[in-house]
């Protein structure tokens, strides 16, 4: 058999001649039986016990994710907010410490360079600064993109803090309970998309109530050298609640069920935010940013294609690049992500379909490696936490 453990195009593209980078938790993953694979230049855990077991643990109890490969970019200085406001589709100038916003970075033609989280934070010494969390696969691109703008804002200090830090996601209905003994009450009480600079048992830690799974939980940023202790602390504290380490395999099935886009699949430089269904991430009123004039026009136009969910009949998943057809055999769209959904017990996909035909409930066909499967267009997300 071709024992291809993961077929994702991202992994094929990530094959590099230089040795892969390791996160601060690499040794723990190896010692704990993780199946590793290169991803965005890093050796990452794809699974431990198995994708379905890890996915289910996150939906019913608690999953721990090493997401240290993601880029973490820090901006200090009085005009850091202006710099970022110029580059992001979301407004940054009115952000207060403790706020986190999902945003896009676009080029002049409104094409998406990356999807990011921007946080306004206050350090223990009362310094206000901004943190941008970017996709691992886009970090180098975004850092290059920043350079001419940093030159225009010489009073902004830019630091790529990725290698000096680690990032751990704690996701699931038991996430808050498991962190009771680990984080101060003020962190446990953070609202959705709020963040705080705090300590995890006397180790500096940025906590945010954010995630990429559709479950409640936190994302923690700690110093690289503290990561193994923090990871072990959470696993121990969450053990009775059923805490499990979770790899990138289940991270993908979880985000797909939650209808969340993934760069390189639903998002790319050829796709604008409106087509991607991310108009909420664009604040056009009374501001200009790179791409804003293009997007202002786009916002008024009807869109040729629309991002939808597909519920596939049968057991075979319709993965990226699978073509979609109507019953008259006309090609009407393409799948961007697909998998077998452990929660729903059937294959699900996200696809871009011609807008005229992208009606919820419509029956279409999807080509899966040469044979057709029936599919129904459904609203996103496929799963919402109770």
């Amino acid at each position: 058999m071709g024992l291809v453990l993961v077929t994702s195009a991202d992994l094929r593209k990530s094959f590099m001649n230089t040795p892969a980078l390791k996160t601060p938790l690499y040794d723990w993953h190896i010692e704990n039986g993780a199946r590793m694979a290169p991803f965005a230049g890093y050796e990452m855990p794809i699974q431990y016990k198995g994708i379905v077991a890890e996915h289910t643990a996150t939906r019913t109890a608690l999953g721990l994710f090493d997401i240290s490969h993601m880029g973490r970019l820090r901006f200090d200085g009085p005009r850091a907010d202006q710099l970022l406001d110029h580059l992001l589709t979301r407004r940054v100038l009115d952000m207060q410490p403790g706020q986190v916003r999902y945003s896009l970075v676009c080029n002049e033609e409104g094409g998406i360079l990356d999807d990011v989280l921007v946080s306004c934070l206050e350090s223990p010494s009362s310094k206000i600064y901004f943190l941008l969390v970017v996709n691992a696969s886009n970090k180098d691109k975004i850092v290059s993109w920043l350079q001419p703008h940093l030159a225009d804002f010489p009073d902004v200090e830019f630091h790529d803090v990725t290698a000096a830090t680690a990032m751990i996601a704690v996701q699931g209905p038991k996430a808050v309970e498991a962190c009771q003994k680990l984080l101060p009450a003020s962190s446990l009480q953070l609202g959705y998309y709020k963040a705080k600079v705090t300590e995890q048992m006397s180790k500096p830690c940025i906590v945010s109530r954010t995630g990429y799974t559709g479950e409640d939980g936190f994302e923690l940023i700690v110093r690289a050298e503290d990561a193994p202790r923090v990871w072990e602390n959470i696993l121990l504290s969450g053990r009775d609640a059923g805490a499990q380490p979770v790899g990138l395999g289940a991270r993908d099935t979880l985000r797909l069920e939650a209808g969340m886009p993934l760069y390189g699949h639903e998002l790319s430089e050829q796709i604008d935010p409106y087509t991607a269904g991310l108009s909420f991430a664009c604040s056009l009123k009374d501001r200009q940013f790179i791409g804003s004039s293009f997007l202002a026009n786009r916002a008024k136009e009807s869109l040729p294609v629309k991002r939808v969910g597909l519920s596939i009949e049968g057991r075979r998943a319709a993965r990226e690049e699978s073509k979609c057809f109507d019953h008259d055999q006309r090609e009407i769209g393409v799948v961007t992500s697909g998998t077998f959904s452990p929660t729903l017990g059937r294959p699900i996909s996200m696809a871009y379909i011609h807008s005229d035909l992208a009606r919820t409930g419509s029956q279409i066909e999807v080509d899966i490696r040469g044979s057709r499967a029936a599919a129904t267009i459904v609203d996103l997300p496929f799963y919402k936490r109770p």
């Binding site: 058999m1 024992l3 395999g249 099935t253 057991r315 075979r316």
Partner: protein
Amino acid sequence: MTIRPEDLRYCKSHEWAYAPADSGGIATIGISAFAVAELNDLVFMALPLLGQTISAGDEFGEVESVKAVSPMYSPVSGEIVDVNTELVDRLESLNSDPYDQGWIIRIKMSDPTELTKLLDYSAYQKLLSQNG
């Protein structure tokens, strides 16, 4: 009939063939316990049609896990004379029995000497240990 892994011949691609002397030239084909463990979380198996002729090394089907699809390659040439269609509804049984009840297809061999080109049990075990 109890199929023992020690009695089987193997492809490097982890399919096995069982053709004892009294099988009348019919090889029973499946995938090894190693392959099942590597794939994990099986959700679907695509099987060939009865009567198809196939050559050694040809793809005879696919097995799909949550994350990936893997082709299955035939160890021998011949005509497909039996297909274990009901296996598809109990793929998780392969975790405990990929041999007896886990057989996938049966082939009436056109050239039984092809079996000698496959790995025997100890050679297959050696291959697995080299891969770590």
